[in-house]
Assembly symmetry: C2
Homo-oligomer: 326 residues x 2
């Protein structure tokens, strides 16, 4: 059950110390830390609820300190803590433009509102389109998942499928090898684009079967849980493989276009480059969580958020001093 | 109240996939993630209980997802989760030597036991000696604290003292400026050794008073809470300053000597150098939490632990493949 938080002020633009973009675990942790450090903090979230991808998890059992919790409920806890310390959160407010050229950064939302601050923390995560195959939606949370590390341990000792072709997908397949009884890799029509480091581990493991070029046609089940997949091989024949879980690591895109345009450096996959203190190449601009391509875990994003807020706090103090001196 | 965990296996050396050194939040998060990913994992902890510095906190209100909890209780939760997924934890086992020269790293404890693994995660934190001044122990948790970010918000709007002289201490003083009504900086006999970036912020803030060279003589209170400090000025006179909280950021040393000898790079203050994936300069050796000098927050260490475990998992798979090929 969702718990109601304290009344949330509705920000409508203006000047802040810190603007956080995205109300997932990274953004809300950053907001909590920033607000607790006395900074005027606003969080802009395009959706109407907190949590981002984390809110989709039916069960989270790998967040240290909390034995087992629903993802949406965990997101509500993050939200309540952030607002308790004074962070303002604007839901349904999508960022469409960013100007990071001056000391005061300007972030514009689709409502035409401008949010200005000396520090901006980008926590926009990745968007997952999914494959749109039959059974994918029906069995989401019943064997279909978008995060191996999070969910594969729920199916320990069972056969599993991994749908993907790039290095991140193969990395996830490597994790699966010590958890699953069998790992079937389906590249869904693509050629493999992954490092030899991962591929040699996978090719040499007798548990792993790789179907390069094959397409996932359907995820089948008994209504309660996944029981298998139907794939189409490159020669046009179909094959049914019994699996208990299907991990889709395909078509994930970091949400960074706007920031790239504003001068923030990204890597070849579009993830924002940061240092160990979550600083981007633009002074005063930080990035945390999935959008950095690091970890893809709730606790990793939360840790990033804390570090970014601490850095932002120092930056804001220095900048205010500089502006006062003028 | 402490809760009893599941029966903990008592490791006595041997071969593992991952050896984690230190059972604070970083080490236990790493152990939980590693064990959940199917790796044979052992944690070596010199103390007889988990949590490291985190266990000392009377109240933690800045761990995202948990509104308010005692530090020791939070540490127990971390421990239970790690052991639930199969990590073994050896308490009272102090690491005295490390050999990171081969593919199989060897860690030796004071009991003469050898723990071997292809991956080692260093989570040894920092040791804080404290000052040993009158009132320090008596008022610990009643106004005396060793972490500004963690505890200053409990005393919002009150006058506070910061005991320290180095860059980390001055960074903490900067955080205090937006929380405290007054910030008194006492360098406890030392000259200031901090960056101009921090010092110019502090010197220009009318809330801040700096007593360079002064010594803290006593922390005074009414039995229940801190009410002030007595300092001795360089000219030998004493002064009493009313404060509600005293933050001691003095004499902290990262526990890295053994690892430095084993070839792990540290920075000028002794903190282990890592990249954003918690890798040190030695392949297969990772460092997380306070020992990296990043954040000094429970959630930061926990996030680090997850990232290090994910990296260690890939490293272990690659190495096993390499060894099998021989």
């Amino acid at each position: 059950m969702l718990r109601l938080g304290p009344p949330v002020k509705k920000p409508v633009g203006g000047e802040f110390d810190v603007v956080v973009i995205g109300a997932g675990p990274g953004g809300l942790s950053a907001a909590m830390y920033a607000a607790r450090l006395g900074l005027k903090t606003v969080v802009l979230e395009k959706e109407n609820k907190p949590g981002g991808r984390a809110a989709l998890a039916p069960i989270v059992e790998d967040y240290p300190g909390i034995d087992r919790i629903n993802g949406e409920e965990l997101a509500q806890k993050f939200l309540m803590q952030a607002t308790k310390f004074g962070a303002q959160v604007a839901f349904g407010e999508r960022v469409v433009d960013a100007d990071f050229s001056g000391d005061m950064k300007v972030v514009t939302t689709h409502k035409g509102r401008e949010y200005k601050a000396p520090a901006v923390i980008i926590a926009t995560g990745v968007s997952t389109k999914g494959l749109g195959v039959k059974g994918e939606k029906e069995y989401f949370g019943k064997g279909v998942s978008y995060c191996v590390v999070c969910d594969a341990p729920f199916f320990k000792g069972e056969p599993m499928a991994l749908i993907g072709y790039d290095d991140h997908a193969m990395e996830e397949a490597v994790y699966m090898t010590s958890i699953a009884s069998k790992v079937y890799i389906i590249t869904h029509g693509k050629k493999i684009e992954a490092s030899e480091a991962h591929m040699s581990v996978l090719r040499n493991n007798p548990k792993v079967e790789i179907y390069e070029g094959a397409k996932l046609k359907e995820i089948i089940g008994d209504g309660q849980k996944v029981t298998g997949i139907v794939i189409e091989l490159p020669d046009g024949t179909t094959k049914t493989i019994p699996v208990r879980a299907v991990f889709i690591s395909y078509g994930e895109v970091p949400s960074t276009e706007i920031f790239k345009k504003a001068g923030v450096e990204v890597d070849e996959r579009g993830f924002i480059k940061v240092d160990t203190h979550m600083r981007t190449n633009v002074p005063g601009v930080y990035a945390v969580g999935d959008v950095t391509g690091i970890g893809f875990q709730i606790v990793v994003a939360a840790g990033h958020g804390a570090v970014a807020a601490l850095e932002a706090s120092k930056h804001v103090k220095r900048l205010k001093k500089k502006m006062a001196a003028k």
